[in-house]
């Protein structure tokens, strides 16, 4: 089965550093900005970015985890339901700039659910989306990312597999694989 490596540890580091610089450019000292990682995999990336940003800016930055399970539009339409994860938003979202972080952007439906889930915590001033991998030409909703790690052209039957050290993998590796392969 064909597997193509999109990002390895070294490239991922460079990419994440670049994303952090872009965030700093737009958000300064993050006084009015909060970061929200999407459960389950966006959380790992959000933690990495959060750590780097705090080190670079020397300030404390709000970090939360958002689970979109109860807000999905495919519940009772897919064969096995998605398992719920913890939501933790220990700060006020009202009037904040929020950066939503996820690993892969595909159809845009998770992000749609995330917007709904986030609104339950208040009305943010502005919401941005950061993704590590943007699967182009596969959107089912008018949702586009503001910060992109890597853009890839994929077929619907292919899958982007994210393996991060933080998840317990040996190395950071992002693969493009055929769906049948586990």
């Amino acid at each position: 089965m064909q597997r193509k490596l999109i990002l390895d540890t070294e490239l991922l580091n460079i990419t994440v550093d670049r994303l952090c610089q872009q965030l700093i450019e737009n958000h300064g000292n993050f006084e009015h900005t909060a970061i929200l990682g999407l459960q389950p995999k966006g959380v790992f990336l959000a933690e990495i970015i959060h750590e780097k940003l705090e080190a670079a800016t020397g300030t404390k930055i709000d970090l939360g985890y958002l689970d979109t399970t109860f807000y999905r539009d495919d519940f009772r339409r897919r064969e096995t339901p998605v398992k719920a994860n913890a939501t933790k938003v220990p700060f006020i979202i009202e009037d904040k700039n929020v950066v939503i972080i996820d690993d892969v952007l595909f159809t845009g439906r998770s992000v749609r659910a995330a917007l709904d889930a986030m609104i339950a915590f208040g009305r943010p001033r502005k919401v941005e989306l950061l993704v590590l991998v943007n699967r182009k030409y596969s959107r089912q909703l008018p949702i586009e990312p503001d910060y992109i790690g890597r853009e890839v052209n994929t077929m619907a039957w292919q899958k982007v597999l994210v393996e991060l050290k933080a998840q317990g993998f040996k190395n950071n590796k992002i693969w493009l694989i055929n769906k049948e392969e586990k």
Partner: protein
């Protein structure tokens, strides 16, 4: 797996450990949801649920209704008093008429043991048993064990005593199944007349002395005397029951350890529990009520997801 093994929640006897773990994990997330400023999620937006109560209920009905509304389900309520049941309609006809209005789930309380099991063989909708006679009350057992789980982190090896009217209690039977499936040791305690004859065949310890039961256990689930189900006298008087089986603060203070007190409600203050216990730090009775909504949200959500 993120799916229950059953399409209905008829009793704890029918579900397995994995189902209970999944319900707990989901309930934990719903507990966070109901503590938010906006307590509602859109999960069951396109689901209609009928609460069909052939027997009286206050907190179970309120708790289910709130859980359904927090999940954005459409809710209809039916109670047998003043309904067509009084005009001679059968259970199956009543429920089929409700289902003809395109209802997806039925939450049912009925005075006859096995009523929801019977229905499950004849209708397509998911059924949640909200108490069937003296048989089972699965969501109560789930919220009781979930409350213990929240406090202790695990039920493995924990000693739990169920004290009171075991004979007429559906809460007791469901609790015994749930506690045992989660690895807890179970003891039942009450006057001989209020203990079912072959209760020990369920693998529980039997104790007649409430003091000894309290000395043995980490958690005591105290049950109400169900006078409405007692058609003969099982003990001389409530006063005498209270004298021998009532739990007060003095009794708890004289033990060499802290124990946790649960009660499924409604409490008869001064009979099975004294006010100084019900309102003390030992008691997690109000947490049980809060957890009840989260657990019922989890059950309804997970059952709706069974394909």
């Amino acid at each position: 797996m993120s799916q229950l093994s059953q399409k209905h929640l008829l009793g704890i006897k029918n579900i397995n450990r994995k189902d209970i773990d999944l319900i707990f994990e989901t309930a934990k997330n719903f507990k966070e949801v109901i503590n938010r400023p906006i307590k509602k999620v859109p999960s069951l937006r396109d689901v209609t649920i009928a609460n069909v109560f052939f027997e009286n209920s206050t907190r179970t009905k309120l708790s289910f209704e709130l859980a359904e509304k927090r999940l954005s389900a459409d809710v209809i309520n039916f109670s047998s008093s003043g309904s067509s049941v009084k005009k001679g309609e059968t259970l199956l006809d009543t429920v089929n008429n409700i289902l003809a209005m395109k209802v997806d789930m039925v939450v049912m309380r009925h005075g006859s043991p096995g009523a929801p099991h019977f229905l499950s063989k004849h209708i397509k909708a998911n059924i949640v048993n909200a108490g069937d006679g003296t048989h089972e009350h699965p969501t109560q057992a789930l919220l009781d064990t979930f409350s213990i789980h929240q406090k202790y982190g695990s039920l493995e090896g924990l000693k739990v005593a169920i004290i009171g009217d075991i004979l007429h209690s559906r809460v007791a039977i469901s609790n015994i199944y749930a506690l045992q499936k989660l690895g807890a040791e179970v003891m039942v305690c009450g006057p001989n007349t209020l203990l079912p004859k072959f209760i020990s065949s369920l693998g529980v310890k039997v104790e007649l002395d409430v003091r000894k039961a309290l000395e043995w256990c980490d958690v005591a689930n105290v049950l109400r005397i169900q006078l409405e189900r007692q058609h003969i006298k099982y003990f001389p008087s409530l006063r005498e029951y209270s004298l021998y089986y009532g739990i007060d603060k003095k009794m708890l203070d004289s033990l060499n350890k802290e124990i946790t007190i649960l009660h499924p409600g409604p409490i008869n203050r001064g009979v099975e529990l004294n006010s100084d216990v019900a309102d003390s730090d030992h008691s997690i009775i109000l947490e049980q009520v809060e957890n009840g909504v989260a657990v019922r949200m989890a059950v309804l959500y997970l059952l709706a997801g069974v394909s």
